[in-house]
Symmetry: C2
Subunit: 228 residues, 2 copies
DNA sequence: CTTTGGTTAATAGTAATACTATCATATACG
DNA sequence: CGTATATGATAGTATTACTATTAACCAAAG
């Protein structure tokens, strides 16, 4: 795959001012990704980021309402990127089993800078997704955030995979549930392999992304075939 | 089942002073559970709790290092409670399939005050587990916390279920991974049914706990039988 | 060439949070 | 009775997550 660059149209509620439009915006997003992946979201502040990009807190606040929104924005970009890759990889495939395998490969594999954003380090972004994704919806404002469309990208991928499952087995009753379970497992199992090793056979010293793919493929094909 | 009361020996690192030993300790834990389930963990502070129990911040800090530790403590109690119930329900069962079903029922079902803690509202505690569990390990200190045994209870349940799976199918390669995936799904799917409905078929207006049980049972039996 | 609009920097300030420290009082226990 | 322990009362601190104001800069429009 040739390296191409992406520019996304994301939900307008994800930001106050589109960071893709300005130099400062790109630095906020690019260095923000690095900083969060380095020190973790809890320790991250706009103050620290402003020092890193030689700007000010107030300037960052003009792009994002607060640090939570920045996190949601970054992760939305990740899922938009994943969705694009699923479309790309499944394009022209006819056999639904092949489509599903291709999609599964995309959601489980290590981030690679094939299709990329100009200013974002995809490896760092994937690290954020692994460690912080669940925090975007595990909040009191989840319903409001959901209502203004902040989670559209994630839901869209879930539906996409669910639809492929239904092509394979139209009678399967839990395609959405299985799809979201797999999406969650795609980062959770990697996290466990790094930090809570007894919770998984996946081994961070081997090729955890590949192992996770195999685990999930096993789960999937059995679940779908059995009910056929 | 007759109502019985539990007193647990939890890891000493979960608290500074054992809250089960004193009146104040029990109020911290009991009212803390209520308050977190009401306002969410982010909005929760020791200040607010101290007002609610007519005590002081400083007194609460004598029991728990910080609010994160209190959350870890509460959730550890939940999983210890679940583990006890699994042991109780699987006791004397011989057929591993039956054991697995019984365990699955325990981890998926709505909290009931059958086997109980004196001061804790199990319904509120389960609400906390559904909304906050992942926050106990999605932190920068996860490795240190893990090292001092804060997550022992969760890991123990994961192993227990995994072992039953291996009784059914000794050749299954992903028993730990599947077990942790199901444990995570046991609260995640309920959360989705309440807040991000398009991510699951489980319907919060029906009997979501029962539906979740059926979803997970489907997953499980297919995964285990296929590889037999 | 000047005005204007838009972007950013600089600075200051605030309420709340997450603690820590100190001291006095109550109570319990041996 | 004396002493250890638990709690309460109070105060204080560094940091966080913002908000507000003003001034400087720059590009395009008139």
């Amino acid at each position: 795959m040739t390296a191409i660059q992406l520019r996304l149209d994301l939900n307008k509620n994800l930001f106050l001012r589109d960071p893709q439009n300005t130099e400062l915006g790109k630095r906020i997003v690019g260095e923000g990704t690095q900083l969060i992946s380095e020190i973790g979201f809890e320790g991250f502040t706009f103050k620290k980021l402003s020092e890193r990009i030689s700007s000010t807190e107030a300037s960052i606040y003009r792009y994002f309402e607060n640090k939570h929104r920045l996190l949601v924005y970054l992760i939305a970009r990740y899922w938009a990127w994943i969705e694009f890759k699923i479309d790309y990889e499944t394009n022209n495939l006819i056999v639904p089993q092949e489509k599903l395998e291709a999609a599964l490969r995309v959601i489980t594999h290590r981030a690679q800078a094939d299709i990329t954003f100009p200013e974002i380090d995809e490896g760092a972004l994937q690290k954020i997704v692994i460690a912080e994704t669940d925090k975007i919806y595990l909040t009191k404002q989840v319903d409001q955030d959901n209502q203004v469309g902040l989670f559209k990208g994630y839901k869209s991928i879930c539906k996409k995979i669910s639809d492929i499952m239904l092509e394979i087995n139209p009678g399967f009753k839990y395609s959405r549930a299985l799809s979201s379970t797999l999406l969650e497992a795609s980062h959770q199992q990697i996290f466990f392999s790094q930090h809570l090793k007894s919770l998984t056979e996946i081994d961070a010293n081997g090729d955890p992304f590949q192992q996770n793919y195999e685990f999930m493929k096993t789960l999937l094909s059995n679940a779908l075939n059995a009910e056929a």
